[in-house]
């Protein structure tokens, strides 16, 4: 039976202007300045003299329809029915009447959302899917983030950091969570366990061989079946072979660990953008609340808060005090694994007598 299929309308990305608060539309590209009346609130003033207050709130990111409708109810009641989501999945409500700011904050807090995340706060952790939905995750994302934000909620609500802190998490070494001032990422520590019964049928073997960053995989006959083998001395346990070939089982309940990286900064402010650098590893992947990872993040934040000057991001602060001092103030071990040996690694070595004593 031939059923008529509907042809898609390839409309692509929808026009934003139809969903934009009228005050934003009226003053498009005509904003003059902003300030920050209190944590969680921004005030923008346009050349026309019009003012808009933005109230930012953190959510659980994985939203059920009840929560989404609750946010819509608040938007209808206080913010003319318009909202904006930030890159880090915070929700923002825009109001043109200052008198609505406090009631809006109260409504959000009463409904269980957390107002904050602006300026020099620790804002919402940007994260990935994890066990809830990803096909290759070494850990959960929403769970790590929920547990960590419970501990950092005061730093979200307040602006006590030297500059903004962007934390990210990722459930595999592909690192979909991206760069962060602090990044909590999976680090596998053992080569994949191969299910040789499945490789021949499930995997396109040449693509898997090509995917390996260190050429450690080669085709092989195992028990008379076409499969793959891994040179375990060469293998860096990155897990790149796992997505194209699920029988290359990289995830392990015990040997999949977490690493913490710091100093990733997307902004061009002061210095050029930077990638994050490894500072801690071997951290147990410990659901449901991952206390060991949170403890290290808090230790780093404490040292940063105490040691950095105003406006220094974590990378700026470390650049000034030096890495030896960073490891000292955070009481984290410096190991041979911190010394880079990847392509271009010599650029990361100290070729000078610039040493702080």
């Amino acid at each position: 039976m031939a059923t008529e299929m509907r042809e898609p309308i390839e409309s692509g990305c929808p026009d934003a202007f139809q969903y934009m608060h009228p005050v934003l539309r009226r003053n498009y590209r005509q904003w003059k300045w902003h300030d920050h009346p209190r944590p969680g609130v921004l005030r923008h003033v346009a050349y026309s003299g019009e003012t808009v207050w933005t109230v930012k709130a953190g959510t659980q990111r994985i939203l059920d329809v009840f929560t989404l409708r609750k946010l819509c109810d608040i938007g209808d009641q206080y913010a003319d029915g318009y909202v904006h989501f930030t890159l880090r999945s915070n929700i923002e409500f825009m109001v043109t009447d200052e008198a609505k700011v406090e009631p809006l904050i109260k409504a959000l807090e009463d409904a269980g959302f957390v107002v904050g995340g602006t300026a020099n706060s620790v804002t919402m952790i940007s994260h990935t899917q994890g066990w809830l939905h990803c096909d290759i995750p070494g850990t959960d994302a929403s769970g790590v983030v929920k547990a960590m934000m419970d501990e950092l909620v005061d730093e979200f609500r307040n602006c006590n950091m030297p500059n903004r802190v962007h934390i990210t998490t990722s459930c595999c070494q592909i690192n979909c969570g991206g760069q962060g001032d602090i990044a909590i990422n999976v680090q596998h520590t053992k080569p994949p366990k191969i299910n040789h019964d499945l490789v021949g049928n499930v995997c396109e073997r040449p693509s898997v061989v090509a995917r390996c960053p260190v050429a450690a995989i080669r085709p092989a006959l195992v028990n008379g079946k076409p499969s793959l083998e891994v040179d375990e001395k060469k293998c860096i346990c990155c897990g790149a072979c796992f997505p194209p070939c699920p029988p290359m089982q990289i995830n392990d309940a015990e040997h999949t660990k977490l690493s913490i990286w710091v100093g990733g900064n997307h902004s061009n402010a002061r210095s050029k953008p930077t990638f994050h650098k490894l500072v801690a590893s071997g951290i147990p992947n410990n659901p449901p609340r991952w206390p060991e990872a949170t403890a290290i993040v808090k230790r780093i934040l404490k040292a940063y808060k105490e040691g950095a000057k105003d406006w220094e991001r974590i990378n700026d602060w470390i650049e000034r005090i030096g890495w030896p001092r960073f490891f000292e103030v955070t009481n984290l071990p410096f190991t041979k694994y911190h010394v880079d040996n990847w392509k271009g690694a010599r650029n990361s070595l100290n070729a000078s007598t610039h040493i702080r004593f």
């Binding site: 329809v65 809830l132 929920k146 992947n285």
Partner: protein, 421 residues
């Protein structure tokens, strides 16, 4: 089925504490939703997730699911433990392109929620790391029904697989005084020129556009996109000296010296005796720091445009790469300007589609063939803004030097004539 709940002692731990809990959200769907299908799906999902927490393993596998006429846009998920958790055994995500800058009316959010409730799990995320609205959890048949419904009122799928991916743009001109371009317009011009490449994955690997209105780069475009468009300006920074004096008066001279003057990466600002400032605009690198500290006093210049960087990406396979400057400055005011931007994107994607290896990002291809070969391939002249410093190794054949030097002088002369009008 939904009457018998899976035990979730580990997930229950994530209902404690002050931050909103996604576990409580899924439980609300399980316990309170009027639709039995949704209640069952939420119960199954919680069961499988608890099983992951217990065993520290994921149990989703990919597959092939799409909608009629497209090849991508869906993240198929089939459970490996579907026998134990049958109601969520198919749990696909639809990646849907958000309006540029992630602006919504509550009306459209409610409409999307109503559609999703009809066909899906009732779980969604605003937004995934690539920038899509993620409608998480439906079966193969309902994937088509949900898409048909939301597509009829203006929403379309994003990219998944080796294709042009959903773009991202900052709030920009809608609500930010730092904005130097029309982010939402750029976003749509670029993305909607490539809808075919979004919906039918046929490129070497993923290709991402991200647009930030100023060098603060709130969209992480340089680090995370193959094609980063960053707003900037090339004339003098606008200074309101009365506001500068206000800052000095309220914050103190020492604060301004320590936090503005001394932090300028090229020492391009000085504080004068009368508490005004002078900026050496030719030495300013548009880093944004002083504007960020004194947003009432300092504003981008009037001659705005964009810088374009190509080739940013994360670890896989050769290690992290930032984007590289390929266009130091481009005006974006007229239709012709926008056409030039789109043409450049087409050149880049065409060249990469032809020369990139399988699973090789654009930046990795540039790394492999060298920036100069890439520039020649897309028809862009070299420029000293593209490098941190010139070459430091003599190992290169340079018998074309005279011709290249001649080209440079000719270009400079043309630029001079153009500037003179």
């Amino acid at each position: 089925m939904a009457d018998k709940h899976h035990e979730t002692p580990m997930l229950d731990e994530l209902e404690k504490g002050p931050w909103p809990s996604f576990v409580s959200g899924i439980k609300r769907l399980r316990d309170q939703h009027e639709n039995e299908r949704i209640r069952g799906m939420a119960n199954s999902l919680l069961g499988q997730l608890e099983h992951s927490y217990e065993t520290r393993k994921g149990y989703w596998k990919g597959g092939t699911v799409s909608v009629y006429g497209y090849g991508g846009g869906i993240i198929p998920r089939f459970s490996e433990v579907g026998h134990a958790f049958p109601e969520s055994k198919e749990f696909h995500t639809l990646r849907v392109q958000p309006p540029a800058s992630n602006m919504y009316t509550t009306k459209i959010l409610r409409q999307l929620a109503d559609s999703w409730e009809k066909y899906g799990s009732g779980l969604q995320t605003f937004h995934g790391q690539t920038g899509n609205i993620m409608f998480i959890g439906t079966d193969t048949e309902n994937t088509q029904h949900f898409f048909d419904e939301i597509n009829s009122y203006g929403f379309d799928l994003g990219g998944a697989g080796p294709c042009v991916r959903t773009g991202m743009s900052c709030v920009g001109g809608a609500r930010c005084e730092m904005s130097c371009c029309s982010e939402q317009v750029i976003h749509r011009k670029l993305l909607n020129n490539f809808t075919d490449d979004v919906h039918r994955p046929a490129l070497p690997y993923k290709f991402k556009f991200k647009i930030s209105g100023c060098p603060n780069d709130c969209q992480n475009a340089i680090e995370r996109s193959d094609f980063a468009v960053i707003g900037t300006w090339r004339d003098e920074m606008q200074i309101d000296q009365d506001e500068v004096k206000n800052y000095v008066q309220t914050k103190g001279r020492e604060y301004i010296i320590e936090n503005v003057i001394n932090r300028c990466p090229t020492n391009a600002i000085c504080l004068n005796d009368d508490d005004t400032i002078t900026v050496k605009d030719h030495e300013c690198v548009r880093c944004m720091h002083c504007l960020n500290v004194m947003p009432k006093a300092l504003h981008p210049g009037m001659d705005k445009g964009v810088t374009i960087l190509i080739g940013g990406k994360r670890t896989l396979k050769i290690g992290d790469l930032m984007g590289t400057v390929v266009v130091p400055f481009m005006k974006l005011e007229t239709e012709e300007d926008y056409d030039r931007l789109v043409e450049l994107a087409e050149e880049v994607i065409d060249f990469w589609a032809e020369n990139g290896l399988e699973h090789e990002r654009c930046g990795e291809m540039i790394e492999r063939i060298g920036l100069v070969n890439f520039l020649e391939g897309i028809g862009v002249d070299v420029d000293p803004n593209m490098v941190n410093h010139p070459r430091q190794v003599s190992y290169i054949r340079m018998d074309g030097w005279d011709e290249e030097a001649e080209k440079w002088y000719r270009r400079k002369l043309e630029e001079k004539h153009q500037a003179a009008g």
